[in-house]
Symmetry: C2
Subunit: 813 residues, 2 copies
């Protein structure tokens, strides 16, 4: 254990005189300027430079914002600026404790980024006043590193994703160093705890570096943090165990801390460069032990030490506003005044209110400023993917519903070629499920990234290599975080995951969707970024063998709660439609595209031309499966989802054969939002279009992939809504056969046909015998499954019986 | 670094002769019996004891199940049995890789647990055949450690929660040791990575022990695992960093491995006992470095080494069924035959098919068997909470809607007393938000559990102590997992969390709900367990200051997708109703109760008697706020949620004053499922009851806490559905004032009143002037907020103006 400690101590012993006196003085002054602005944002609406004594009317009426993490973050930023200037580095900054936005905003303001976006936030007294008033103010800026904050790709409202975002940004950006402040509160979350292992997926040959700064400021909202309250030796073990080389910067004396931080950063940059140079000169990508910094500084550092007899600095009481009610409490007012003046603003800002020239030289130039990093506005850098013609992967068919192909299996070769053509701007992400989801063709273009140990036997199908571009770790959080970081910095990707477990990242979806909506609709300077593409496979209806816990199609409900401006849901009925939809999604910007497609072999209904037409319309009548001949039907059978489409078609086939005079219209929905009204979603149909498809008064039997209410949610204001009867997953399941699972939830052909018979007026007596037969099939299907444990051939071997006059004879009943 | 290694090596050097020859032989035989059963379950439907040569018809038609992790798990189990017998220990077993259910099922069968539940699974050849046929078979048992598996409280379908469940089980069970097998795949997930730190929350004085066995079998579905592919030294650092004392058991030679495992377990048990004895004899709860085991054994250990020229044992190819198609491939059939016979079943089972007597002695007796641990059927052990009379915490009021109180603040004292009366069977859980959510009164009964370092300044409001019973770590996953483990073992708890971030545990909710549904409806021997109580606070409508990312009421949509048999959603309108609802939830069993209640001061409408009556009904007309005098109204104003109720009342007050002849019925909903039909949910109203409240043809303006569609989902088949107009969160938000946020989403009094005017026939001209005024109020509300940054007094200071004839005069407009 001695070795570890010594090495670290050596790191910090180097630190005594990294900075000369002038450098030290200037850096400290820049830091004070930044801290001053942070406090000003929280408190002041007038008198921004304290040119007159503070009076109650200078304060905001509602004091909001988080002081606690600000001084540590500004401290890191000013030191990062020093090494950017010294080495002409390309750096980004991700603020894990994004509620400490004043730190980031203050630096962006000092760097001029705000004035460039908004002339009203000019670098003078007037602009500073406007800056203070905009922070955490109704209708203006939030108290987190929201999309409105230049240089930010990470809001940090919901904690846990800063580190995976940082890695996503660093992939395929070989010259970039992504600094990521990890709060010790955030570090307790699962997603963050898992993401430290991302260093096994970063290739020094082609990727940039991630420099985590674990900020041990000791407290969360109301509790100490775990990592600040374990032995320093345990802490160092932890990070060595995670595969990092930690450098500790620990203390509260600013002079000593500046020297330590400067030395640590010099050592880190040197180590990063040495790792990269060594790898790049030899072509050898052995996993490095990348450096990281453990910055232990007081919470609310430089703020009031004590208020009303309570410890505040270096304590949880610094978390938000350290001194409340200065406008109403003269003693508190005096304390704030004293605190703000302790930064000596008169030494930092000139008569106009601009940062003094001697400090401006500490700020990096142009795009080297972290607040204007082009990577943080990734749409600017984004190049369209070089996409192959997706038509070439088409599954050839002789007619609808005869051939079976795994939809995702058919997508694999297309993704392989997308990968091959975009070897530095496209990645495929999955929590250990690419192969399970039948996308393994992609390994022909590139294996999986793996910087951990590789064994000889890996040659036999493990598909891991340091230069792989397929990203797999068994953490939905981590792969989603990587992908978000990757696309927010202007690159492209697709994540595939089991349907039931995509709920693991519900909240990440929510946060990304909110980020995207604001960016797209309200932040004029953010360029559109590639869409977040999520392919959901191993779907509920074929989790018969894994059972109940693997059956959950509810992610679509979560998705549909977010803004119509950014949400897109596709349920391609077959392989060719999946190809068309995926091509569309890969070309799109600023959406979350959710595609649901199973991996098991399923019927192909449309040749590629028909698939393109169908997907472009997003919804359509399948004339070949309908018996209404364009006239008003007796009933509509509608469906969305591959397995559900098969069962709906099988129901239509049964009805056609047994009740040939019944006029059934068959509708398939690919683009689920087509069902919504045109005023509710850009893809929505007008009422006239909807009524032309679904009629205004005929029964509609809708077989839906997910929970049935989503269809009601999308259609409840349609004129024919009371006649829409939705079949879907009803939370009935166990270990089972596909048929039996379908029957339990009444999405099988038999229940659908029965429902049509029940709903069409006047069909009861004519349909009676058929209904009896259908009910027998249901009983038999379940019985057969439960007595034999077979895949009943009904559901897996069924084919569309061809056109009505094809002479096809249904097997004897 | 040397010290760490030496200590571990010492641990394993102890191992050479822990077992004598006979013990070794017997343990190995028991292990072989268990492994034999695992393989049998995956493959066989007949010929369970191989009494005839294997033939194709002996195989199941569909081979399902996971072999890879089984032998490592059975290995651990047989060794745990040894120490249980040796020391008469009370132990539980949690299988992280729960898809390796054959391991657990085989042990439960050998221990007789299955025969006790189901005589058909008798301990003879017939019973063994039935066991094999039941495994992963339609309509029977799943392939995971589902609720049907005796001894299991953790399915392990969705990975990540085994360790937090284990800790939950160990809390307040001082004599229990919870063994938890953590798969190296699962170990990559965020929730698992965070849960290692749970050791800072386990108090050796009063809690049991958790003994994690990290199972490094090297591979996930199709990838190596990270922890198996980092340097052993890094691995050991990692777990020392997490605060554990790791013992390594590493190899593949079974003889050597038995000795090593026996020695490691002896050492662990000794260490656990020594920690507990030392703490309990001194009363000193200094954080121990609890032991854990790193078991590195081949994936698919003892299975086929190679198949078709491909490595299988110790490789990813062992993950599921190692040899496919034995029924159709004679070479594969021979391989399976050879493999199964390698366990020498004839030495293990007697002529009847029962485990040989010399092996039966290795099995613990009665409730010492891990498969029949009473803790794993926690309802059996569960005692009702000793609850105080919740009426004593009532907020006294002079009339409806005058006093303001924080609802959660009023709940705090009640939870304090619940805690004080149940100091070994109730805990309160939160991700660092108990105080933020105003429940801090609970600290008067007990502080927060904290075994990490405590500093002198913690005395000032940090409320941490080793014997605390409030559980806080900044990980929603960890606190939820703890709580689930705690209640599944028969104790009681409540989790409170910010509304937006409860989505972090969407998938944990889903999994628990599914577990509960199966347990309750289909597993007759499981006793009811205390409900999972989730209190959602810091709600969307008062996240105006934190902004858009903190605004998400969508958890209710996720909740409502699960079975009506177990889901309950409550939206108490005020503090007194919250007290009544919480009392009800704490008494209930086998539900997930979700309570939504804000922390900010809100109006109190009902005195305690009225609150009890209202909550008991779950829905009701508030006559004092209605102007229909029991007659048919012109319109219904309905609401659910505290803030939404205030705005609905304010709208009613405006209408009453300005349009006194308008007959408005005012309905408040506490129990959201009352809106559903009685056939859809046990709490649902009949159509007659619903229609009596909501009429069949009058406009209903419904002000709802969450996304509006949930109300439509619950009511879309009601006769008056087309007239129900729901206001709710429409994903419009930013940093704002409460009024302005309400206005953006049209849940404010003005929009509601306008909607009434628009919907009531014939009101347009009479209501014209009022509508103009309302629209001016809306514009003014937003403007005022955005120009001044004030809390507009409208929404925060409003009070109910009293009864219509009270002489109250609304302020001038």
């Amino acid at each position: 254990m001695t070795t570890a400690r010594n090495e670290l101590e050596t790191g910090t012993q180097l630190s005594r005189d990294t900075l000369n006196a002038k450098e030290l003085q200037n850096i400290d002054a820049y830091w004070r300027a930044s801290n001053y602005l942070c406090a000003g944002m929280i408190y002041l609406r007038e008198n921004p430079l304290l040119r007159e004594p503070l009076r109650p009317q200078h304060f905001k009426n509602r004091l909001l914002g988080h002081w606690g993490s600000d001084p540590g973050q500004t401290f890191a930023w000013v030191h990062l600026n020093r090494v950017i200037c010294k080495h002409d580095l390309e750096m980004m900054y991700i603020s894990g404790p994004g509620h400490g936005a004043p730190a980031v905003i203050s630096q962006a303001y000092l760097e001029g980024a705000y004035s460039e976006i908004d002339p009203d936030k000019s670098q003078d007294e007037h602009g500073m006043r406007n800056l203070f008033r905009a922070f955490s103010f109704p209708g203006q800026w939030g108290s987190h590193c929201t999309p409105e904050v230049p240089g930010s790709i990470h809001e940090g409202g919901e904690l846990g994703y800063s580190l995976s975002h940082a890695f996503g940004a660093a992939f395929d950006n070989p010259d970039l160093i992504v600094n990521v402040m990890v709060g010790d509160g955030e570090a307790e979350t699962g997603p963050l705890a898992a993401a430290w292992h991302s260093n096994k997926f970063l290739n020094p040959l082609r990727d940039g570096a991630v420099l985590p700064i674990l900020h041990l400021n000791g407290y969360k909202i109301a509790n100490p943090t775990i990592l600040a309250r374990i032995d320093p030796e345990e802490l160092e073990f932890l990070f060595r165990g995670y595969g990092w080389t930690p450098y500790v910067v620990d203390g509260s004396d600013s002079t000593v801390m500046h020297q330590k931080m400067a030395a640590a950063l010099d050592a880190c940059i040197e180590q990063i460069r040495s790792i990269q140079e060594s790898a790049r000169s030899t072509g050898n990508a052995t996993r490095p032990r990348w450096p990281m910094i453990i910055l232990r500084s007081p919470k609310g550092w430089t703020g009031p030490a004590e208020v009303d007899g309570h410890k505040v600095e270096d304590f949880w009481r610094s978390h938000q506003v350290p001194i409340s009610d200065p406008a109403g409490n003269p003693e508190h007012l005096a304390l704030v005044d004293q605190w703000l003046r302790s930064y000596r603003p008169e030494e930092l800002f000139d008569h106009s209110g601009r940062l003094m020239p001697y400090l401006r030289t500490l700020c990096p130039r142009h795009q080297r400023r972290m607040s204007t990093s082009p990577h943080a506005n990734g749409g600017q850098l984004c190049k369209p993917l070089d996409l192959p013609d997706f038509r070439q992967y088409a599954v050839a068919i002789d007619g609808p519903g005869v051939e079976r192909t795994s939809p995702t299996g058919a997508l694999g070769p297309m993704l392989r070629d997308v990968m091959a053509r975009n070897m530095s701007s496209f990645r495929l992400f999955s929590p250990d499920e690419n192969a399970s989801n039948r996308l393994q063709a992609v390994y022909e273009a590139s294996p999986k990234t793996w910087l951990a140990t590789i064994k000889p036997e890996d040659a036999d199908g493990t598909h891991v290599a340091p230069d792989g571009r397929v990203m797999e770790i068994l953490s939905e959080h981590t792969v989603e975080g990587w992908l978000e970081g990757y696309i927010l910095t202007g690159r492209h990707g697709l994540l595939n995951t089991y349907e039931a477990f995509v709920h693991v990242i519900d909240s990440m979806y929510n946060q990304h969707a909110k980020w995207l909506e604001k960016s797209k609709l309200e932040v004029h300077w953010r360029a559109p970024v590639p869409s977040l593409n999520i392919l959901i496979s191993s779907v509920v209806w074929r989790q018969d063998h894994n059972g109940f816990s693997h059956q959950d199609p509810g992610f679509l409900d979560v998705v549909s709660n977010k803004s119509a401006e950014i949400t897109r849901i596709y349920l391609p009925p077959d392989a060719n439609c999946l190809l068309s939809v995926t091509d569309h999604c890969l070309r799109s910007r600023d959406y979350v595209n959710v595609i649901v497609a199973d991996k098991q072999p399923h019927l192909v209904y449309l040749d590629m031309d028909a698939a393109i037409e169908h997907c472009t319309k997003g919804i359509g009548v399948w004339d070949w499966a309908s018996t209404d001949n364009g006239a008003e039907p007796d009933a509509v059978i509608a469906c969305a989802g591959d397995i559900l489409t098969q069962e709906a078609l099988a129901a239509a086939a049964i009805l056609r054969e047994r009740l040939p005079e019944l006029k059934v219209r068959f509708i398939n929905v690919v683009d689920l939002h087509r069902l919504q009204h045109e005023t509710a979603h850009p893809h929505g149909l007008s009422d006239a279009e909807f009524d032309a498809l679904f009629t205004t008064d005929k029964p509609v039997i809708f077989n839906f992939h997910g929970y049935p209410w989503l269809i009601h949610k999308f259609t409840y204001r349609r004129s024919n809504h009371t006649n829409i009867h939705v079949h879907g997953y009803k939370e009935k399941g166990n270990i089972d056969t596909p048929l039996s699972l379908a029957i339990q939830n009444q999405v099988d052909r038999y229940h659908l046909a029965i429902d049509v018979i029940n709903r069409v007026p006047g069909l009861e007596s004519r349909g009676h015998a058929l209904k009896q037969w259908l009910m027998e099939q249901i009983a038999e299907g379940v019985l057969q499954a439960h007595s034999e444990g077979e895949d009943t051939s009904d559901i897996r071997d069924w084919k569309w019986p061809g056109s009505p006059d094809s002479g096809y004879i249904q097997r004897e009943h």
